[in-house]
Symmetry: C2
Subunit: 238 residues, 2 copies
DNA sequence: GTTAAAATAATAGTAATACTATTATGTTTA
DNA sequence: TAAACATAATAGTATTACTATTATTTTAAC
């Protein structure tokens, strides 16, 4: 418990020393270990957000960081791997926030609703990871993340653990669902649907406004919190 | 009502004369109007299903139908437009099934659950459209459809009506939700989530089995029917 | 049945993509 | 100070995603 207190008190500082772990098979050389690696990750986020994943190339990225295409290839085999890296980092970061924010909550229903909040909320800048712009990264996740697994190689890459963080996050939410509603028979599907569905609703509110209720006033979180409360039959009085 | 009876009696025959309407801006020349056009559509489904959308090219498609790359370009500007065409066709087909199957149901709850069934079920072959393999097309929708709108051009293409059929289908389900639960405040989001979420759960049961409850025994339909019943608080006794 | 029009096929060509390989240059670190 | 390592530059290849032109075949019109 003293440990927990230390975390809470020294949060900002402590976070600076936290590293989001990403499966080593995803990269050829860990970009976190060098200045160039960090610039590659940092600027890939800016560039993918700006021009989209389809138009994004290592040549353009090289130009934007005054480095060479060939140097980027020493970190990532191809742009697909880079996208897998970015999504893994993002889900690792979300998992961290989720664990951190729900750890001290004992009431299962409350815990789950906090988890839903973390996973559905619009992202704000996290100063703990200086070279990563979480707001832009979140936009990339909304627009591009599904392309990382909607491929013919998904089964091989899944076996190699490329999507482990994502699945672990879904599992954590599933556990929370089970804890707050023992008899609910679809905890996995509900958990995976919340994670994926939240991204989809964010996309709809940005591009297909006419088929979502989410907007400036009604948040994606509002929708999913309500959905969970109704589906699991929570008695909440706040 | 006589009209309806005629439809029901002569269903198979009538369907043979039904054409799924697709926005004219999507193609340069309507592929339904020629034999080559139909072969392009037919074989693009086989080829995309086989090698995936990323590896799919007009050159390969040309080779597979013993035609020329340049001839295909006379029907579709590029492979992205072809994908938009296939998804439009698919949602048009689903909309047709949905309207047809729910038309005669008067009880709102029953109607909605039938709609959920149509939209979440695994697809079976429909002999009415000889050149389209609906089972393969359904797999393509699960794996590739989101790539048709997860692009930088989505807003322009949306304005041009590329996704109108999809949005109309979601709207129909939304209307059914509203009819069976007047006070539910998230009818749009629930409707869009069912359509998109069903595809996602199908994907998970095929590739990420560990984070879904859906499998051979528990269908995607089971999950979503239950979700709707719980969320809208249906009193169903069957 | 011939001709004109339209559709299809073949060929060639371009700029960009997605790399690989090699060599050169700069920077650490032992 | 040299060896090791990282980065940058250059060149080259096969493929992609087209466009343009011309040739051939099919169809439809008179």
């Amino acid at each position: 418990m003293l440990f927990l207190k230390a975390i809470i008190l020294g949060m900002k500082h402590l976070l600076q020393n936290i590293r989001i772990g990403v499966n080593e098979k995803i990269f050829l050389k860990d970009p976190e270990t060098t200045a160039l690696g960090k610039r590659i990750v940092e600027n890939s986020i800016l560039l993918i957000d700006e021009i989209g994943f389809e138009s994004f190339t290592f040549k353009k990225l090289g130009a934007s960081i005054n480095s060479n295409e060939s140097s980027i290839y020493r970190y990532f085999e191809n742009k697909h791997k880079l996208l897998v890296y970015l999504t893994s980092w993002y889900w690792g970061w979300k998992e961290y926030q989720l664990v951190f924010a729900t750890n001290s909550i004992s009431k299962p229903e409350e815990k789950l609703l906090k988890a839903v909040e973390i996973v559905t909320q619009t992202v704000e800048k996290d100063e703990s990871f200086s070279h990563i712009n979480e707001i832009m990264l979140n936009r990339i996740i909304i627009n591009e993340a599904s392309k990382s697994y909607l491929t013919k190689e998904v089964d091989v890459e899944n076996k190699d653990g490329y999507f482990a963080v994502y699945k672990r996050l879904v599992n954590r939410i599933k556990d929370m669902i089970t804890e707050s509603a023992q008899d609910y028979p679809f905890a996995f599907s509900l958990a995976s649907m919340i994670v994926d569905g939240a991204l989809h609703q964010h996309f709809l509110k940005d591009h297909f406004k006419s088929i979502t209720d989410c907007n400036n006033k009604v948040s994606v979180q509002d929708y999913f919190s309500d959905l969970v409360v109704r589906t699991l039959n929570f008695k909440i009085d706040e």
